[in-house]
Amino acid sequence: MSKTNFSELNPAWGDRQPILVGFLCNWCSYRAADLAGTSRLGYPATLRDIRIMCTGRLDPAFVLKALREGADGVLVMGCHPGQCHYQEGNYKAMRRIALLRRTLAQLGVHPDRVQLAWASAAQGTIFTEKVAAMTDVVGRLGPLEWRDTIEDPAPQMKVLSLEEVAHG
C-alpha cells in the first residue's frame, strides 16, 4: 500500500504518521492479523499490535498508559460477541471501553481515539479494514501528543505597574 501523506488529513501531522497501539485477543483477532500477513494483505503501517489472551484481560490502564506514552489511538480487537473463548470477556470489554470513552471525553481525548472491533481468526480482510478505518479516524483527529499536555511550560506574565493593573 502506498504511503499516505497524513498532513493532507490533518496538517498537524507534519511528516509524522499516526501511532496506533492494538490490543488483539489471542484466539481471534491476533490470528486474523497473522492471516492478513500470510495472505499478504496490505494495510496502513500504523498499528503496533500487542497480543492479549482475551479482550476481557484488557485493563483500561493499558489504554491510558499507551495514550500517555505517545499513542494517538488505541484499537482493541477481539472475538465477535458470543464467541469469546472465555465466554464473557468481550462483553466486559464492550462495557469497559464504553465507560473509558466517556471518561476520556471528559479529559479532552476524542473518544473515537479508542475503539473496539471484532475479527474472527478467518477474517484477515476485516482486520485490515478495521486498521485502515481506525487510521483514517485518528488521521483526521490529528496527533494526540500527551507529553505536551503534561509538560506544561509556565506561561510568562507581563510585569505591570499599579497604574496599568488598574486600567487594564
Partner: protein, 345 residues
C-alpha cells in the same frame, strides 16, 4: 544535626490544601504531647509564627522529619517543596493533596485562564468592572509586590521532589498519624518509599455483604434508600471502595455513603479510574451497545467520580491542553463530533 535541646527537629507545612490535614495532626489528641515531648517543632506556620527565612537559614538536612501536606499548584508551593526537601532528612507526603492532588487536583479538569476568569470576573459575587487580575509583580511606591505564578496543572508532591514516605487520606486517620509518629519516635520506619497504612482495598474493611449481583442502572444517593447490609455498588450506588486503599475503617460505606476514594488508589494500582472502569464493566448487566449506553447514562460525570481525589496522579493527570488566542488552555470535548460509527458496528 541535632538541635540545641537534643531533640529531633520536626517541620509541618501546608501548600495547596484546605487545612484539614493540620487538624488531623491535632486529632491524635494526647499523643500530641508525645510529639511535643519527642520533637523540637522548628516550622509549623499554621500553628505558630515561623518565617520562611528561618528555614532558608538552616543547614541542609537539619530538619529530621517534615510532614508536608497540600498539592503543588504555584511557584511558591514548589519553592517550599524544594526548600523543605533540601532541609529535611525525611520528607513525608501527608494527606491526599500531597499524595494524589485531592480536591485542588480537580483544577486539572480546567486551566489557569478559566479559573482566574471565573474567580476574578465571572463569579456571581464578584464586582470587578475593570477586570483587575492578580499580577506576578506590581510596582508600588514602597517597592515591588510579588505573587507566585499560578500553574495550569496541579501536581502531587512527588511529581516535584523525591518523597520518602506517604501518609494518605483526606485527611489521614488519627490512628495512622499516630502510627507514623510512633514509627519515627522509635526509629522503626518502613523502607523508604513506603505508604504508611494498609495495602488492601476499602472493601476489605467494609462490613457490607457482597452477593455478586449485577446492576442495570446507577442511582444518585438521593434516589434510593439503600439496604444497610448489602454492598452499595451492587445496589447501584457509586462506591470507589473497590479501587481505594483501606485505612479509614470504611467510614463512608458504613453510613450508607459510597466511598469517595480519598485514600487514593489501592496498592498496586497506579490509576484509580482504570481500576474503577474495570470493576464497573464487570458488574453491569448489559450486552449490546444500546443497553450499555442506557446504563452508563445513569452515571453522569464518570471522570469526576473516578478521579475525585486522584486526578493529579492519574496516568493522564489532566484534561488535554491546547492553544487558544495564543494562550494554553484546557480543551474539554463538550459536543463530541461523530467521525465514524463505532468500529464494532
Amino acid at each position: 544535626m541535632a538541635s540545641t535541646n537534643g531533640k529531633p527537629k520536626l517541620a509541618l507545612y501546608w501548600a495547596s490544601s484546605c487545612g484539614g490535614c493540620e487538624i488531623a495532626v491535632l486529632a491524635i489528641h494526647e499523643k500530641l504531647l508525645e510529639v511535643a515531648e519527642a520533637f523540637d517543632v522548628v516550622f509549623w506556620p499554621c500553628a505558630m509564627d515561623f518565617k520562611q527565612a528561618e528555614v532558608e537559614a538552616m543547614a541542609d538536612g537539619e530538619i529530621d522529619v517534615c510532614l508536608f501536606n497540600g498539592a503543588i499548584r504555584n511557584d511558591h508551593n514548589a519553592h517550599m517543596a524544594h526548600l523543605l526537601r533540601q532541609k529535611s532528612k525525611v520528607l513525608v507526603a501527608f494527606g491526599s493533596c500531597a499524595n494524589e492532588g485531592c480536591m485542588p487536583g480537580l483544577a486539572n479538569f480546567t486551566d489557569r485562564e478559566h479559573i482566574l476568569r471565573f474567580i476574578y470576573q465571572e463569579s456571581p459575587s464578584t464586582d470587578n468592572p475593570q477586570g483587575v487580575r492578580p499580577q506576578l509583580r506590581t510596582e508600588v511606591p514602597e517597592g515591588t509586590l510579588e505573587l507566585p505564578d499560578f500553574w495550569n496543572t496541579v501536581k502531587t508532591l512527588d511529581q516535584v521532589v523525591p518523597v520518602d514516605y506517604y501518609l494518605p487520606g483526606c485527611p489521614p486517620e488519627a490512628k495512622w498519624v499516630a502510627a507514623a509518629v510512633d514509627a519515627i519516635v522509635t526509629n522503626k520506619l518502613p523502607p523508604p518509599g513506603s505508604v504508611i497504612g494498609m495495602d488492601v482495598a476499602v472493601c476489605d474493611e467494609c462490613p457490607r455483604k457482597r452477593d455478586v449481583k449485577k446492576i442495570t442502572r446507577f442511582y444518585r444517593p438521593y434516589e434510593i434508600v439503600p439496604d444497610p447490609e448489602i454492598c452499595l455498588l451492587e445496589q447501584g450506588l457509586f462506591c470507589a471502595g473497590i479501587a481505594t486503599r483501606a485505612g479509614c475503617g470504611a467510614l463512608c460505606p458504613s453510613v450508607n455513603m459510597g466511598c469517595r476514594g480519598c485514600y487514593g488508589p489501592v496498592e498496586g494500582v497506579e490509576d484509580i479510574g482504570a481500576r474503577l472502569i474495570s470493576a464497573i464493566g464487570s458488574i453491569i448487566e448489559a450486552k449490546t451497545p444500546e443497553e450499555i449506553d442506557a446504563v452508563l447514562d445513569t452515571l453522569p460525570d464518570p471522570a469526576g467520580y473516578f478521579y475525585r481525589f486522584s486526578l493529579a496522579r492519574s496516568f493522564l493527570r489532566r484534561t488535554r491542553m491546547g492553544q487558544q488566542d495564543g494562550r494554553r488552555v484546557a480543551e474539554p470535548i463538550a459536543e463530541v463530533p461523530r467521525l465514524e460509527p463505532e468500529l464494532a458496528d
